[in-house]
């Protein structure tokens, strides 16, 4: 067990830190949170800068056009970006973390050629059309149907909670190609160009007041068979392949941001005087202890991936433990703001000491709420831990879809 970085790792960090120090000040002003075209332009511009500097797809294999960095370098990359307050992966999320990696392993040479460089350069934005109104946790029950017609699929159905759909060029779309009750065995993975006739996008407001996700309505949408990744009816396996790219770094930026949020909460408490309350201090100390343990878990998972080349169980434990800590932190900062949390604008700092991070804290608290739901709810994570890791018997009626 060694937490010191090697010389090569330190050099990687130093180079990156230098590049970030030179680049971040040249970025355009951040668009308003509700200005989605502006956010797309901002995020893809950042992706282009990463690309030009050789940092695009830092974790992608070299064959896919990535940098092929080690898991530890990937961790350093995310640490340094957060440290420099660099832009997030933002609208590039699905392309870089899901669609791209899937095409690298399962796509044809033509598909790789056509889609991967555009993702890395920030030319194309992708979204993920998996969930449906009646198929969330039980994704294998999805019904959006694709029927073969010559060398095209004709698609009818709908998708929901599709993040960044409004600004996406492509969608990684799961469709039913097998019989209605074929579950995992009858799903196909398709590339859907978002400007195809018959695709209707209806923005869906989140409880945080943002329209980051949308509903997709698909009516007689025609997609060439050449857009299929993997075999027909083999889409479930194709989807799972993406998971093998996860090396424990998915939440590094988010977690480091939580450390910062705790620090600003402490600063706020000291300014308002709440810090003299031992209860407040204890909550802060407890939260820091939990965040440190979560960071240790991140380092363990990354180290495991570096040793074995496959994702361990750490990511699942993290996914289960992190949202609770994050939500406690949200409640903590909100309770420190007190009634100032009711008007979510930055406070002027009437005490003359500068503005207080009120708006950020309220945003953060709201966003934190989605962590127990998005990408697999905490209940589903507990089923996975109980059944796959601990070997407990399955629910009588298939909690993770065994009945299929």
């Amino acid at each position: 067990m060694d937490l010191r970085y090697t010389e090569a790792e330190q050099a990687f960090r130093a180079d990156l830190r230098r590049w970030l120090a030179a680049t971040i000040p040249t970025l355009p002003e951040k668009p308003a949170p509700t200005d989605w075209p502006g956010r797309r332009a901002y995020d893809t511009n950042w992706q282009r800068l990463l690309f030009d500097a050789g940092y695009a797809g830092v974790d992608w294999p070299v064959e896919g056009g990535g940098r092929g960095a080690s898991p530890v370098e990937e961790l350093i990359f995310k640490e340094e970006l957060e440290r420099a307050h660099a832009p997030y992966v933002g609208v590039n999320f699905v392309g870089l973390l899901h669609a791209g990696p899937t095409i690298i392993t399962e796509g044809t040479p033509e598909q790789r050629q056509q889609y991967l460089p555009a993702i890395l350069r920030g030319d194309n934005v992708w979204c993920q059309g998996f969930s449906e109104p009646n198929a969330g946790s039980d994704l294998a029950s999805m019904r959006t149907r694709a029927v073969r017609d010559g060398d095209e699929y004709v698609i009818n159905g709908s998708k929901i909670w599709t993040s960044h759909a409004e600004v996406a060029d492509y969608c990684e779309l799961l469709v039913r190609t097998g019989p209605e009750d074929s579950r995992h065995r009858g799903i196909t993975w398709l590339i859907l160009p978002m400007d195809t006739p018959g695709v209707e996008i209806r923005p869906l407001a989140t409880m945080a007041g943002s329209t980051e996700f949308a509903e997709l309505f698909l009516t007689d949408v025609r997609v060439p068979v050449a857009n299929r990744v993997g075999e027909e009816n083999d889409g479930w396996r194709v989807t799972m392949v993406t998971l093998s790219f996860e090396r424990g770094t998915a939440f590094v930026g988010d977690l480091l941001e939580a450390f910062e949020l705790l620090a600003s909460s402490v600063a706020l408490a000291r300014r308002t005087g709440a810090w003299s309350d031992p209860g407040v201090r204890r909550q802060a100390g407890h939260l820091r202890a939990e965040l440190d343990a979560l960071y240790a878990m991140t380092r363990r998972t990354v180290s495991q991936a570096a040793r074995t080349g496959v994702p361990g169980t750490g990511g699942t434990y993290f996914k289960l433990a992190y949202p609770d800590v994050r939500n406690k932190l949200g409640e903590f900062s909100l309770s420190l703001l007190g009634r100032a949390s009711l008007g979510a604008d930055d406070l002027d700092g009437l005490d003359g000491l500068g503005s207080l991070p009120s708006e950020e804290m309220v945003e953060d608290w709201l966003r934190g709420i989605s962590l127990t739901i998005a990408a697999g709810t905490s209940q589903i994570q507990r089923n996975i831990v109980g059944e796959r890791f601990l070997g407990l018997p399955r629910e009588p009626s298939a909690s993770s879809g065994k009945s299929a």
Binding site: L3, G285, A296, T313, G386
Partner: protein
């Protein structure tokens, strides 16, 4: 950076686990429940021979010369096996008290109460009848006392049946043997080692619960198929995983102080491990149902031991306040060091 245990570290833990299974089987330990002496001197010597007490002592001083990181692996196993006795105290005393390192001297430890409520409650001392030396820690330093000279009252109802306790209304002055810098160091390392014991308890409680959940049938199926039970178990193992890496990271940070803030992560490790052990104790009882409330099922032994550890080297609230002080002093995040 490579935070995975090395092959040698893995073998160390494995070796200790094998030794403990042979030398400290639970049914034998249980024959000593509620007795005034619970330490088996042969077993204690075997622990010493395996390096439990001399692990972190320099090789020149007759020790094994390993770090606290390795010690966390060993102490997790000791915790899991419910080995009774002042393990942490004797480990810390190796190098200061002759004979601690080779197991010939059993060293106990107690904090001298301070502050406004110091004289309200008596002072409780674990394992007094088994001790050869008692060390008293305070902010001023460490004093040594001869346990035989104390007029102490044994408790008729020790909370942990394998940890007999005595009370004294006040502690006499002892012979000074070390200064405040050693106290600070011992408290910090003591937190990490006690936290490692807690991880072992938390893990053992999980194992017992998972095994029971697979075997116990109700409504015609194993209770572990019910989510209400399954999710308790999933949360138990998640707590263990989190506490374990926290404790190991604290051990490494103490061995390699330039990678973090050793005092902060030591305190944090104990907070998270205390919580894992205590909460898992409650969950384990729940998973076992009525059997969980019996004396026969050993779950309560681990739960009570966890409660005992929670009182040692600083309670979670006290430790959280220490971390809060560091935060107020501008403690940075994990990327602000190294």
């Amino acid at each position: 950076m490579d935070f995975e245990p090395t092959g040698i570290q893995g073998e160390l833990a494995e070796g200790i686990r094998r030794l403990l299974a042979g030398a400290f089987p639970l049914d034998q330990l249980r024959t000593r429940e509620n007795q005034e002496k619970v330490i088996d001197r042969d077993g204690w010597t075997q622990l010493a021979e395996a390096g439990v007490f001399s692990l972190c002592l320099a090789e020149e001083a007759g020790g094994v010369g390993l770090g606290l990181a390795e010690a966390t692996l060993v102490f997790e196993e000791l915790g899991r096996s419910l080995v009774p006795g002042p393990l942490v105290a004797t480990h810390l005393a190796a190098g200061l008290v002759d004979g601690a390192e080779d197991g010939s001297v059993v060293v106990g430890m107690v904090e001298r109460p301070s502050g406004p409520s110091a004289n309200v409650l008596p002072v409780f001392i674990e394992h007094l009848a088994d001790l050869d030396v008692l060390l008293v820690l305070s902010d001023r330093g460490i004093e040594q006392l001869d346990p035989a000279t104390l007029s102490a009252r044994p408790s008729r109802r020790p909370m942990d049946p394998l940890t007999p306790v005595w009370s004294v209304s006040s502690l006499p002055e002892g012979e000074p043997v070390a200064g405040p810098e050693i106290v600070a160091w011992w408290r910090r390392d003591g937190r990490v080692l006690t936290a490692a014991l807690q991880v072992g308890l938390a893990a053992w409680l999980t194992d017992l619960s998972v095994a029971y959940a697979k075997e116990r049938q109700q409504f015609g199926r194993p209770i572990g198929s019910f989510q209400a039970v399954k999710h308790l178990c999933a949360d138990m193992t998640t707590r263990v995983e989190l506490a374990r890496v926290g404790v190991q990271a604290a051990g490494v940070t103490i061995d390699q102080p330039d990678v973090g803030a050793p005092d902060v992560v030591a305190a944090g490790a104990k907070i998270v491990a205390d919580e894992a052990a205590i909460t898992n104790g409650r969950s384990a009882i729940q998973v076992h149902g009525g059997m969980g409330f019996t004396w026969e099922v050993p779950v309560h032994l681990a739960y009570k031991r966890a409660r005992l550890h929670a009182t040692q080297f600083g309670t979670a609230d006290r430790l959280a306040e220490m971390i809060a002080d560091a935060l107020a002093d501008g403690l940075g995040g994990p990327t602000d060091v190294g």
